[in-house]
Each structure stands twice: as structure tokens, then as C-alpha cells.
Amino acid sequence: MGKNKLGLAAAAGLTASLALGSAYSEPVEDKLVIDGREMTTWTEAPADHPFDELISGWHYRTDETRALEADSFENPGMLYVERGEEIWNAVDGAAGKSCASCHQDASETMAGVGASYPKWNEAAGKPYNLELQINECRVEQMQAEPYKFDAPEQVALATFIKHQSLGEPVEIDLAEGDMQKWWERGKDRYYLRTGQLNMACATCHEDYNGRYIRADHLSQGNVNGFPTYRLNTGGMVSLHNRFRGCIRDTRAEFPAAFSDDLMALEVYVTWRGQGLSVETPAVRQ
């Protein structure tokens, strides 16, 4: 809940929970430990943040879903990490190289890298996310075709690289280049009401996190688990796919993946969740 709305929303929540018994539910208090390492999933927000506390989407999921993410043998997203590792090592493109030809062992060279994206790219004059960086290496370094948005290989590689930062706090550098401007633009977008339903990201994720919207327990909409494994669809969901889905649900046209609008949104939303651990591949409903 937003800071200003706490009182009002809490009062309304009380009415709802009285009427329904126990429907209103706070995020579950629990600890996420993966392979013996404790994740930061609930932490104090910085002073200039709309929230008092930052809470991972993990806390809003059911006992079963939370358990699935905690167990890396059971986590279905780990299959995509394995697939990503295969692609990492596979030669592709006219230059006859694999990612590993230049970057060697990802567990060393990519450790912590995913936690710092999106990152300013001076040559491109805009922020890059992992998917854009991967495509750049494919085109420039490997002379291979760039992946189309949400190609299975793109999602698997992004999952694999992000997973090398498991447990690291998300932290992006807004001091580089024009990152601050992109942050502002993303913030405008976050509060922009779209579609026939006339809702902004903030309407759901800032004003009403903790509530149920039909069957869905609304979270703060943090990005630290992406790409995530979704039980509903039985596959991985990339961040821009999620953004587009949330915008579509307001009955609005959605911007193209990796468009300036969605890159700005990625910068801003990533900033909102700084300090939470990378959980990729997180498991969500």
C-alpha cells in the first residue's frame, strides 16, 4: 500500500475481512532459503520511496508455490536454466563462436551481472536490458541472427544469466548516461492510467497490494524474479511479456517489447525493487 493510503485502505480492508471471514490477507511472513542461501525478500525501503517496505512477490503466493521456488530440484524454472547453459555453450553464427568462447564460465563471468540490469549503453544511447545485450553480442560478436522477442532461446539464456546472480541484491546505476531521464519517463508511465478500465500500474500494485482481485493476490509488482516460471501457463514469462499482459488487462493497446516506453518502465520498476534479491527463476501462479 502507498504510504498515504494506509489508513483509508486499512479501514476498507477491515470491512472486507469482517464480511468474508479471512479473505483479506497480508503477504505471508516466511523465509526464502534456496540452496542454503537466505534471500532478501522483505526489506526496508529507502527514504525517497513510495513504500515503507519492499516485499517480493514470493510472499503473496500460496504455501505450495513458495515451497516450489525454495526447492531448486523441484522448481520447474530450473529446466530453463539448464537449457540456457546449453545455449551458452553452443556455437552459432558465421563467426563460429559460442557465448562461452568469449565469456568462458558464466558462474564466474556473469556472477552479479544480471542484478545490475538495465544498464546504460553509451553506443546505443539508451538503457539495455539483458535481452538487448544478448542480441547485441549475437549480432556484433557472433554474426548470428538476433533473437525475436520471447524466442525460447532468448528466455532461456536470460534466465540462465540472471540465475548467476541468485541472491544478489538488485542494484542499478542511475548515474550513468541519461538513466535519470529514463527513470523519470518510466515513472510517468507507471502512474499513467490506460485503457477502458482506466488503471495505472500504481492503481493495482501501489494502492491495493495485499488484496485479492478475483483469484489473484496483488503484490507490489516487483521484477526481481524475472524471467519467472508461471504455473498458470506452465512456462517462463519474460518481464516485457508480463508488462504487456498487465497493460492489456486494462483493455489498452500495449507498447512493443523493448520499445522506449517499456525500457523506461523497466528502469523505473527495477529501481522500485532495489535491494530485493534476484530470485530467477522465481515461481509464480
Binding site: A12, G13, T15, A16, S17, L18, A19, L20, A23, Y24, L192, R193, T194, G195, Q196, L197, N198, M199, A200, T203, C204, D207, Y208, R211, Y212, I213, R214, A215, L218, I247, R248, T250, R251, A252, E253, F254
Partner: protein
């Protein structure tokens, strides 16, 4: 139905000219009174609570259940709790106020409310093509939903 409409309908029946054909009130012409009420029906036909009940639950229509719980509707799964339970709402508010809430909740609760306006074209940007220039509910569906809400007395 307001009195003049009733008389008009009666006259039409007596003269054998069929129903009044003024058509529903356009979304831009709905009159909100100072006290946030819309007292005139949007159509010539009385709301049907059974149809209203369906529109209330239907995800492609009102989808009111997404945000409101109603005990009477326990045959339906997954009642949301973004908004208050609507049990007994007919005891709290009269139909003119309920109609105003359904037509455009922003006029009643303020711009910031999450509740969509169901009979208004004052909407967000980039509306998807198939929804452009359209309201979420038709005038008759608004009347049906209001008729259903008036049955929620406890």
C-alpha cells in the same frame, strides 16, 4: 422509471404506437445531481435483477466480483476484496446513488478510485481498438446491475 416516462409509455400503449423509442441516454448526457446521484433511469425498460446478477459476475461485463464480495453469490468462486463487500448495500444507498456509482465511480469517489466507470467515455489512454468509443456496460446492463444491487438488502 420517472413519472413522465411512465405517462409516455402509457400513452404509447393506448395509442397503439408501440414502446417509446427515445433510446437510452448517451454516456455524455447522464446527469449527475449535486448530491452525486443519477435519479433518472438510463433506459425506458426497468432493470432486470436476474440479468444484472449475471453481468455482475461475468468477467467480460461488470466483473464486479473481481473487487467485491457478495455472500448471496457464494455459488461463484473467487470474490475479490479490493472494494467493500456489497452485502446490504441496498440498505445503505438508494438506487439513484447506486446508479451514479455504476455509471462513473470517479464522479462519486474521486479520480483516484480503482473502480472503473461502467457507462462513461472518460477512460484511460491507448484504449484497445475493440473497446474504443464503447462503454463497458450498455445502458440497459447498468439498469440491470442497479436492479440487482437493490436486492442486496442483507
Amino acid at each position: 422509471m420517472t413519472k413522465p416516462l411512465v405517462y409516455a409509455a402509457l400513452a404509447a400503449v393506448l395509442l397503439g404506437t408501440g414502446p417509446v423509442t427515445a433510446g437510452p441516454v448517451e454516456p455524455g448526457n447522464v446527469e449527475f445531481a449535486e448530491d452525486f446521484t443519477v435519479s433518472a433511469s438510463l433506459t425506458d425498460e426497468a432493470g432486470d435483477p436476474a440479468e444484472g446478477r449475471k453481468a455482475f459476475a461475468d468477467r467480460s461485463l461488470g466483473n464486479c466480483l473481481a473487487c467485491h464480495a457478495v455472500t448471496e453469490m457464494s455459488d461463484q468462486q473467487f470474490h475479490g476484496d479490493v472494494g467493500p463487500s456489497l452485502d446490504g448495500v441496498a440498505e445503505r444507498y438508494d438506487p439513484a446513488f447506486l446508479r451514479a456509482i455504476v455509471v462513473n465511480a470517479k464522479h462519486v469517489f474521486g479520480e483516484q478510485t480503482i473502480m472503473p466507470g461502467f457507462y462513461t467515455l472518460e477512460v484511460g489512454v491507448d484504449v484497445a481498438e475493440k473497446h474504443q468509443g464503447k462503454t463497458i456496460l450498455s445502458a440497459q446492463q447498468v439498469e440491470d446491475v442497479v436492479a440487482y444491487l437493490t436486492t442486496l438488502t442483507d
